[in-house]
């Protein structure tokens, strides 16, 4: 009996674990994971003739991007000219029934039909979520040949602070196209 319960418990636990993992992975963004950071944080780099734009998306809003610096092989560095952070907080409240409606029919010597409405007195709330998007814009020369070793030898250093105030630096390789 104990063994059966334990087996059931294990199976339930496994099923719950799979459900949790599936639920989590459904929310994970597609994109390049940031090395050394939680998987909720992903990056993309887009380039225009005069700019390089690093976009970071954090579906769980774990990190705040403090600074971003483009760093070359000879110690050259270009600080982001512009950093835009956007945090979206979504919250919901369950208000209970908006109103309850009922129809009653009674029989007997005199039949009748009654209509009733009820309204909620108490409310409860639940549900919330945060997502953070950050864009760092770097000025780069239109002719990338002015940047020695471009792009293979260039990286972006991103200074991050997590929810607990712990600082870290993630390094992202500049892709050959993007």
């Amino acid at each position: 009996m104990v063994r059966t319960l334990t087996g059931l418990g294990r199976r339930s636990l496994l099923a719950a674990g799979i459900a949790v993992v599936a639920g989590c992975s459904a929310n994970e963004p597609a994109g390049n994971p940031v090395p050394g950071a939680a998987p909720s944080l992903t990056w993309q780099i887009n380039q225009t003739p005069e700019t390089l734009v690093l976009a970071l998306n954090d579906v769980r809003a774990v990190y705040r991007v403090e600074t971003a610096t483009l760093r070359g092989p000879g110690g050259q560095s270009i600080a982001a000219r512009e950093i835009s952070r956007e945090i979206t907080q979504r919250g919901g409240g369950y208000g209970g029934p908006l109103a309850g409606a009922g129809v009653g029919i009674g029989g007997g010597s005199r039949s009748g039909v009654g209509v009733g409405l009820s309204f909620p007195i108490f409310r409860s709330s639940s549900g919330s979520g945060e997502e953070r998007r950050t864009e760092a814009v770097f000025n780069v020369p239109p002719d990338r040949r002015d940047l020695p070793g471009w792009p293979a030898a260039w990286v972006v250093d991103v200074a991050l602070t997590d929810d607990n105030g712990v600082a870290s630096t993630a390094t992202i390789q500049v892709p050959s196209s993007g």
Binding site: R81, R85, E86, T88, G92, G93, Y94, L98
Partner: protein, 179 residues
Amino acid sequence: MVRWAVCAALLVLVACAPRPGYVPISEHGFFGYSSEVVGPARLRVTFTAPRRGAGGDYTPADGPSAAANAQQAFDLALLRAAELAQADGWREMTVLNRETDVEARVRYNYYSDPIGFPFGFPYDNRRSFGGRRVLDSRPSSTVQATVVLEVALHSGQGNDRGPVDVAAAVSEIRTLYGL
């Protein structure tokens, strides 16, 4: 009678017009400007715009309200920098870098569906919430933007030049926001 109606409409319009919130942040606490000197001829100015309604369900990708709020925060941070520069005798300035923070809040309310589709409660969506079929009221969003600018100040003479004319910036931004 018509004149009174026009006056009333104008009063309503004035009352409803968005306030730029151009005050020291220490005065209000939730919006306004602050500044600090960060070096010789260098200033850092912060402006937090008042929180604004952003319509229904806020989508970062097409958040015009956030863009407008961020633009306002940028303009008024620039105005504050220009005013400080002008008061100190500088004629031109350069924006060295800019940080923008936009905080959007979206609020949903869910209610049990007492009657069921299609009887008309004023709700747009029906969805499952905690296993129950519920009515989803129209969401409401608000945004608030903060801009931090670091500016270099220039005398406007010789090689000490910058792209922003301080006097023109003060005049134009004040006119734009009715300050």
